[in-house]
């Protein structure tokens, strides 16, 4: 009779994915596979130019066509996904983790700590994000790290605010009180009570945050900041190919499409079925 109750659930079992999340995971896997398999399967060099073969329509030799310098878009896109994905996730993580953490702390502790953190966040928010990013880029020119760090310096507030507001209500709720009385620590309370409530919003923000980071790169490229040829990066590819939007719309569409797949897959992954 002790069967069901007493088989302890595995602690770090893979979370069961619902159908939406499965699609999301599949899309993301596809993207990753694309990024890492292409250099395996094809030996095209993302920096190799052929000025006589610019902006060529996709063909058998060049499955995705060539760009304005005659470089293989397949190779460039794959290398861009590798760079951008890693950097975007890094910047999302470096924004989300402190944002959520501080948000929980502020909402939980309340009082002066809340006010101090809140003021800090508001002040950071009031610092034009663009300014920070531009200045950081100027200080460390051509350094992608600096750019992404600058971007996450701006984006953490988003998480902070959302999390803080929600935490403040949850902390006063009987469910937390009950678990606290039962002797559970903050980590547990966070995992079992706060996180399930916070996750949909936080993950949605994160999904868009990844796109924001890449688009911020594109925006910087648009005002000609942060360029470092011949590195392939999704945002910079968009801006590089912008002048050829009319001649070769399919070329500019490629990095955008990749970003779309990324955003959509993260969004799908973030979505939970309603209770």
């Amino acid at each position: 009779m002790t069967t069901l109750a007493m088989t302890p659930p595995r602690r770090w079992a893979l979370p069961a994915l619902n159908s939406r999340q499965q699609i999301g995971a599949a899309l993301l896997a596809l993207l990753l596979a694309f990024a890492w398999l292409v250099p395996w399967l094809s030996d095209a060099d993302p920096a190799r130019q052929q000025l006589t073969r610019i902006l060529q329509w996709p063909s058998f030799a060049e499955p995705l066509g060539t760009d304005h310098l005659g470089r293989s878009l397949l190779a460039r896109l794959a290398s861009a996904v590798r760079l951008s994905l890693g950097m975007a996730l890094l910047s999302v993580a470096s924004a989300a983790v402190p944002g959520v953490l501080l948000g929980v702390i502020a909402g939980w502790r309340g009082g002066w700590l809340d006010r101090v953190l809140g003021s800090l966040a508001d002040a950071c928010l009031a610092l034009p994000g663009l300014l920070l990013v531009l200045l950081l880029v100027a200080i460390a020119p051509g350094n992608f790290w600096a750019l992404y760090v600058g971007i996450s310096l701006v984006l953490w507030i988003e998480y902070f605010r959302v999390v803080r507001a929600r935490t403040r209500i949850l902390v006063a709720s009987p469910q937390l009180e009950a678990s606290r009385l039962l002797g559970f620590g903050p980590l547990y309370l966070f995992r079992r009570h706060l996180w399930p409530e916070l996750a949909p919003q936080v993950l949605t923000l994160a999904a868009f945050g990844a796109a924001s980071a890449i688009l911020a790169m594109a925006a910087m490229g648009f005002v000609s900041v942060g360029l470092r040829p011949p590195t392939a990066e999704l945002g910079l590819m968009m801006i590089e190919l912008l002048p050829y939007y009319h001649e070769a719309p399919w070329a500019m569409a490629q990095p955008i499409l990749v970003l779309f797949v990324l955003v959509l897959s993260l969004n799908l992954l973030a979505g939970r079925d309603p209770r």
Partner: protein
Amino acid sequence: MSSYLLQAEGLTIRGEDVTIAPFSCSLTPGGRLTLLGETGSGKSLLAQAIMGTLPKGLVAQGQLVIDGEAFDAADTTSRRALWGHRLALLPQEPWHALDPTMRAVSQIAESHHHVAGRDQRASLQAAWADLKELGLPEAGDKLPGELSGGMAQRVAFAAASAGGAPIVIADEPTKGLDAPRRDAVVELLARTPEAAGALLTITHDIDVARRLGGEVVILRQGQVVERGPAQQVLTHPQSEYGKRLLDAEPSRWPAPAPLGECDMAAVVTANGLAKVRGGRELFRDLSLTVRPGEIVGVVGPSGCGKSTLGDMLLGVTRADEGEVRRAAGHSLGFQKLYQDPPAAFSPHWRLSRLLDDLVRRHRLNRSSIPPLMARLGLDENLLGRRPGEISGGELQRFAILRVLLLNPCFLFADEPTSRLDPITQRQTLALLVELARERRCGVMLVSHDPALIERICDRRITLGNESMSVTKREREPAMA
């Protein structure tokens, strides 16, 4: 057939390991039907099936006739037009049913305005009148988070019935109410059939069933075990379960073994407590002690501060004045059973997961769980569900299980059995008393049932009423 206001034919509910067997009923204008029965027997689900609000994963089948119109029970959307106008449901969990950001009076007034079609001013007046009638004149300006359990219950009642629907389904409308309030609500409920409406009530309070009269149905494990006129079923039940149910009324309980002489130090002592909440002084200069193994009853009208007192003793709420001393050395010894069990659980996890967390956290002995579950009448299947997917009574017992696993030295039980049927209630309380005695755990028990307090408590504290006075009366004076 068309003379029936509400008729159900072969209503069944199916879902993952839940089956509620065919249920039929017919209510003429002026008819009253009361569902009694075991917790988890499917009473709430039946009410929801009639409304068409079954939770996801459960489907109803059968035929319904409501106010002369025929419906297929499986078709959930068709009954929407009836809601509020012809069919009203008072949900089981009132705290959850109220919009947390809207003041109580507006939530009632909007029903008057949008459902009953009164104009703005008249609606507001009607809402205030309803509140007064329910003994809540001061609650109108409060937000749901500031209402006590019983207050929320009544506000929800007023909001649900403001539309003046002729068919009313009330799911435990009197739980958490003291006797005078309960009688008032019963009287209000009775108005519906008096005005040629139909009333379907779900209750665990046999007294309420008796007062309402009409037909009584006793359910157990999804089956009807007995039905008939209230008069007959509630005095001479035929079924064995019906007999047991009636026997389990608190007034018929045997008194528990008296608490022997006890000279151990008190687990909780309070001195000169005072608290003002929502601009109202709840108590002043309140002092009390609870000793190991002792069961202290707390009674008082709804909203007088019983829950607040418990929270102060547990250190969850601050007292405005006075001090609370808790016995040292029991970091986990102070526990609480919530008046509103769903609120005390995170809705996202299965019960097995929550239980497992607790076992791991405190390295508890797993083998002690199954016997305790059996004693609480909890089925193992329930562990696979989430808190929102089991009945209110089942969840409350699960909460009791959780708390008892920790061997508390002081337990604040805030109406722990108000959602349980008399039999389960009796078993549960008997268990609680037994464990309290056995493990020397002081229990502070809140209840609205004077008979229940009378039976099982060693001592009783009566909290004041509107006059704000605090009285404290010792039933058994000899307590060193």
